[in-house]
């Protein structure tokens, strides 16, 4: 187990470093000029140059990347003009656009994104796996057809339609819920959940549909396997058969997929965030990409990458628990 953790940590570090390097490289190939964008289109050449120097954009790419890597281990001090701003290790740099520390921006936005992602995930797993199993076990029945229809609608409806509809029904017509504003969990847990309910549902409906279909097909496949047929021939009851034997096998692909999805969600669910006013990483990422605010982009992508890596490690552990043939190495 320790070896497993060590290997994974090392892998994660390499993956993240490569990710950052690739971002730095693409940044210099993509159109747009960060200094000019920060300065405004009417800026004189001399002024843009001053800003380039301020942003260290005049240094060679490798030097800038080295400065970035250094900051992770040693931290940096930045000038605010009137004083210094200390960026403790792990320092991910300073936004070109606002001068804010990237770690500070992430710390401000991550809780909202994490709240949205984790809450929605719980909901979509319960909904998705539940519906999937039900429709697999009631194959051919009216229930199964209804559920299949429901999942098809779920997959086919983009989140901005579901979101607008939910807001319209629950906030404008029925008025059961307020138009959501994000309330941090730490300041008021009840309001936090109340305000996040709609975004969770909107996100979960789309995702649940995907999981329902995956669970259903995977369950049907497992139920058709030889060892299940053998168990059945031995007279194992249908309930126990599903619970003790089929479920383990059927859930493996679901676990793998949720690990990936959770990672993506940590990069922010942009549409859900804007529709429901959740100030998360997704909005920030899109804004920063448009403004070529490289340090912020790198920071958020690293969070995303880290989330994928961690979620995958967790998935591997779950895999091993679900299927005893899998050994953690």
């Amino acid at each position: 187990m320790i070896r497993f953790a060590g290997r994974r940590l090392l892998q994660a570090a390499v993956v993240l470093l490569v990710l950052a390097a690739v971002l730095y490289a693409t940044f210099y190939l993509a159109p747009g000029n960060a200094a000019q964008l920060a300065c405004g289109p009417r800026c004189s050449v001399a002024q843009v140059h001053q800003i380039r120097v301020q942003m260290r954009l005049d240094d060679p790419v490798y030097a800038q990347f080295w400065h970035f890597v250094q900051g992770i281990f040693t931290g940096h001090d930045y000038s605010t003009g009137t004083g210094t701003l200390h960026c403790p290790a792990p320092c991910l740099g300073q936004s070109y656009r606002t001068g804010d520390l990237v770690t500070h921006i992430i710390a401000e936005k991550l809780p909202a994104t994490a709240s949205l992602a984790l809450g929605a995930m719980v909901l979509w797993l319960v909904l998705g796996i539940g519906t999937g199993l039900l429709s697999a076990l009631r194959r051919g029945s009216i229930v199964e057809r209804l559920l299949t229809g429901f999942t098809l609608i779920g997959i086919a409806t983009p989140v901005f339609i579901t979101g607008i509809l939910l807001l319209l029904v629950f906030c404008a017509w029925l008025r059961w819920l307020p138009y959501p504003t994000y309330v941090p969990l730490t300041s008021d847990p009840q309001q936090w959940a109340w305000n996040l309910l709609l975004p969770w549902v909107a996100l979960a409906l789309v995702e649940a549909a995907k999981y329902a279909r995956l669970t259903r097909s995977s369950m049907l496949e497992t139920l058709a396997e030889d060892h299940i047929r053998t168990f059945r021939a031995y007279g194992v009851g249908e309930g126990a058969l599903v619970r003790r034997h089929a479920l383990r096998g059927a859930l493996s692909p679901v676990i793998a997929l949720s690990a990936l999805d959770l990672g993506t969600m940590f990069g922010g669910a942009l549409l859900t965030e804007t529709l429901f006013g959740v100030p998360g990483l997704g909005q920030q990422l899109v804004q920063s990409v448009q403004l070529k605010d490289l340090p912020v982009v790198v920071g958020i992508v690293l969070v995303m990458g880290l989330a994928v890596v961690v979620a995958n490690a967790v998935a591997d552990v779950l895999y091993a628990l679900a299927d005893r043939r899998v050994v953690l190495r």
Binding site: R42, F160, L168
Partner: protein, 573 residues
């Protein structure tokens, strides 16, 4: 400022229908209480909280970094400036009036030296007095590379300011700004600038007390001179809460009404959701407005059909022109007959449709916007009627040596629904086809588009462009586009025709000497007409803005200067 940051039309039609369906319900019985509240007495009163629901965050809330027209909307609640825009509806709102200063400025004879005196009794939120030195310091800050983003004019206009790096790197300051006493500030300019009072509305002309300056962190807790002070500024302008500044007094400020006690600015919201909330008006949304979200064509159609909703739509005109730009250095656009042919061939009615219909765009034949302050002089050098004159265009093409038509490329932004987007490009393509001109479209991603069309090295022959001025005057409208000395060789160049005509340059210099703004306006109008005859651009449309506001909102003032409901005038009670 060459492009409006918010495009109103990037919404799916289905979402729009859904988004506003709440409106019908909003006028049902549940709103009876608020109807009663506002029914008896329509006069605005003090008190309450005004909510601003926006899409774009109010980032970089530092007076040195803000790039505003007339001091901005939210910024102007906190930052008072030497002069400001007149808070009045329509054309009257294009006037510049004194703010911190006693008048709009005393020019020297040739308009190169401008002197201002501060009003008595001006205080910051902490009760300390505002001094002329603080205004000088505020302006010097705007030169610091740490605080990038402000407008470029002062760097060009002030004597010896070209390479100034701000007070952090160069504490000696700018000798071009003098403060002979605590209440007097004098500006020395390179050349005559009759528009200086209009420039002095920008937030860089707002005082910053040196002792309270925290550099790049200043935007979190700026020191207010306006009717409101910042309670909190979260996530760089995503959520700003303002409360009354007890030290502000109406006695020194006859412009800002400041009715609400609190102003809560929430951004990062989806535009369809903002419009849904404003139309439904549930709870505190009845006291809400937006300063950046327009109604798109489909939303507007829905709103117009509902009387109660239609009465809550504010219409704004902001001086802006969308146009076809030519680069006469690229063949065949060096031939004026070809440019004229295209001017005749363009069908403005289809361009208006592409921009969302006649409620959201007015056809343009002049480069200047149709407002007196800019010097608007109606003219149409190539009268082609509402829908173009392909026959006349063909005739001109024959004279130009293209009897069998020709093929050209039109470069545009791929940003859908934008003024320079594919819809407008397609409308142009269709119209030109009727005149025998085959148009190939070259769509580029937004950043790549800007990089290409605004660089003299890569500028294509024909592309879509738009221009809005930083203040309502012909100077910032015509100067950057047609002044030969403003051609930028290695940077963003907006003189796309690369026109360097001494007679135009001289006339620009002559008008800049005039300090009587309405006399100057007349000359700008005449200059526009003169340049228009050269067919260097084809003006297409002037956009119109429609925005919803909440049902308890009173005292809506929309000036032509900003085209947006003025937050400093709105009341919720």
């Amino acid at each position: 400022m060459h492009r409006l940051s918010v495009t109103p039309r990037n919404l799916g039609v289905i979402a729009v229908g859904l988004a506003l369906a709440g409106g019908a319900v909003a006028c049902g019985p549940k709103s009876a209480d608020s109807a009663a509240k506002s029914g008896t007495d329509a006069a605005p009163h003090k008190g309450g909280t005004l909510y601003v629901l926006n899409n774009q965050p109010q980032t970089n809330f530092d007076p040195a970094r803000l790039y505003t027209s007339g001091g901005g909307n939210i910024p102007s609640l906190v930052y008072r400036t030497l002069t400001t825009r007149n808070r009045a509806n329509g054309a009257a709102g294009n006037k510049v009036v004194p703010d911190l200063a006693t008048d709009t400025g005393t020019p020297s004879k040739d308009a190169t030296v401008w002197t201002y005196h501060l009003k008595d009794g001006l205080k910051y939120q902490d009760g300390t007095p505002v001094t002329a030195a603080d205004i000088k310091y505020g302006i010097e800050r705007s030169f610091a590379p740490e605080l990038s983003g402000g407008a470029p004019y002062l760097r060009d206009w002030l004597v010896g300011a070209q390479d100034y790096q701000g007070p952090y790197k160069d504490p000696k300051g700018l000798p071009a700004i003098q403060t002979p006493d605590a209440k007097t500030i004098v500006f020395h300019l390179n050349k005559p600038e009759g528009d200086f009072p209009l420039l002095a509305t920008q937030t860089s002309f707002s005082p910053v007390p040196k002792a309270k300056d925290t550099g790049t962190k200043y935007a979190d807790h700026p020191v207010s001179t306006g009717p409101y002070e910042v309670v909190s500024n979260q996530n760089n302008g995503e959520h700003i809460v303002l409360k009354r500044n007890p030290e502000w007094s109406r006695a020194t400020d006859d412009q800002r009404q400041a009715y609400p006690d609190t102003i809560d600015v929430q951004s990062g919201l989806d535009q369809a959701v903002i419009n849904q909330r404003l139309s439904a008006g549930v709870g505190k949304d009845a006291d809400a407005v937006t300063t950046d979200t327009n109604l798109g064509p489909a939303e507007l159609a829905k709103v117009t059909g509902d009387k109660a909703l239609a009465s809550r739509v504010g219409t704004g005109h902001f001086g802006y022109t969308d146009y076809l730009a030519f680069n006469p250095k690229v063949k065949p656009f060096d031939n004026i007959k070809v440019r004229e042919a295209i001017a005749y061939a363009v069908d403005r009615s289809t361009v208006v449709d592409a921009d969302g219909g006649s409620a959201l765009a007015e056809p343009a034949t002049t480069f200047l916007p149709p407002q007196a302050a800019f010097g608007y002089t109606p003219y149409d050098p190539f009268p082609a009627g509402a829908s173009g004159d392909p026959a006349k265009a063909k005739e001109l093409l024959k004279e130009a040596g293209y009897p069998h038509g020709l093929t050209v490329t039109l470069t545009h932004d791929t940003n859908k629904g934008g003024e320079e987007g594919p819809e407008v490009a397609t409308a142009i393509q269709d119209a030109l086809k009727k005149a025998g001109i085959t148009v190939k479209l070259d769509g580029l991603e937004h950043n790549a588009y800007d990089d290409k069309v605004y660089s003299v090295k890569t500028e294509p022959g024909l592309f879509l462009a738009g221009w809005g001025a930083d203040w309502p005057s012909g100077g910032p409208f015509l100067g950057p586009i047609f002044d030969g000395r403003q051609i930028v060789k290695d940077g963003y160049n907006f003189n796309s025709a690369q026109l360097n005509d001494p007679s135009v340059n001289n006339e620009i210099d002559a008008i800049n000497k005039i300090t009587d703004l309405s006399a100057a306006a007349k000359r700008w109008g005449a200059l526009d007409k003169k340049i228009g005859a050269q067919a260097l651009t084809v003006p297409l449309v002037h956009p119109v803005y429609k925005r919803l506001y909440g049902k308890d909102i009173r005292n809506v003032v929309i000036s032509d200067w900003t085209g947006v409901l003025d937050v400093s005038q709105v009341a919720v009670k």
